[in-house]
Symmetry: C2
Subunit: 196 residues, 2 copies
């Protein structure tokens, strides 16, 4: 319908969001136009602003608006420890613990040959150079404990060890606050093997 082309264009554009199909996109467009035009304009500006201003930190690859991100700029961080995470969200989770004072390397993804994500896409070469700069003494692999995250950690560990870098991995075990009865068997088996 030519007289609703803006509406149709909006629905099609909303479908580019991950996990949003035709019905959800329709519902979102309807909600914004009927009940929240201010929200629509806010979102429009936020998208334009972010897509033109947000770029990658030249040192750790996370999202930033400057040359270096705040963590990399912070002189108080321990430059000898480098924590490798998959996404800025993972990095944020790590930061919220307050237990890590070192620096990060954010892969912005994980190895996934089926999706066409190879070593180049996650910056393996840059990580190897960074880890071999003589300052970094330990690389902590904090990729996800999924099949792809584990494969990524394994590949990175092999490459880093070949260059003589000390590599550690986050501990696998029983989550804090959980009752053994409800923990999956793989986790219990790992926790038993890694007991201390």
């Amino acid at each position: 319908m030519s007289d609703t082309s803006s509406l149709d264009a909006l629905i099609q554009a909303l479908r580019r969001l991950p996990g949003i199909g035709q019905k959800s996109a329709q519902r979102m467009a309807f909600h914004l136009l009927q009940h929240d035009r201010a929200g629509a304009q806010l979102l429009s500006q936020a998208l334009a602003q972010a897509s033109s201003h947000v770029r990658h930190c030249v040192r750790c690859h996370t999202f930033t608006e400057g040359e270096l991100c705040e963590v990399c700029q912070d002189p108080g961080r321990d430059t000898a420890r480098l924590c490798v995470v998959e996404t800025p969200a993972d990095q944020a989770a790590m930061e919220r613990t307050g237990a890590f004072k070192g620096l990060y390397f954010v892969l912005m993804g994980r190895l996934s040959p089926l999706d066409g994500v190879g070593p180049r896409d996650i910056g393996v070469q840059e990580l190897l150079e960074r880890a071999g700069d003589g300052v970094v003494q330990e690389v902590i692999l904090a990729t996800s404990f999924t099949a792809e995250g584990e494969a990524t950690a394994h590949a990175l560990a092999e490459a880093l060890k070949r260059r003589g870098v000390r590599v550690t991995r986050l501990a696998r075990g029983v989550p804090v606050g959980s009752e053994l009865e409800y923990v999956d068997l793989g986790t219990i088996a790992h926790a038993l093997a890694d007991r201390r």
Copy 2:
């Protein structure tokens, strides 16, 4: 973090979409910035375009970009039948059947006192004036068969009948293609009561 304020603003703006919480908004922002900046710009433009251009048809209240929507402009429609639906999506579903050649009145909502949606918000007064213009001979209530949709249909039917307008309601019954065994009891009871 001040150096990711555009990113944070984008995440907050995405949360204004219905059904989107913090995690989904983060995932969407990450996806757009990492894998689909073209999509982010497209969505930004579509939002700006739609929120400034889309308005309501003065006759039927559906979304349109002109004074009148295409259906209301079409001289080939049967002006004696007026179908009342809740949303443009419901209207689109009705149009796709190809079984209705009349005109529409789109409530852009439904009566919902708990959410503060009253008769004024769904244009009851405009509907009554439209239905009493002497041209409309039958008003077909096609609101949802939910509690709120039924309440809306009931209130509209009462008001329209008081003005001497002929009011009908979409038939309730067993959906096409369904086996009786799997149809809910309320539907079967209604189908039995309305047998023909």
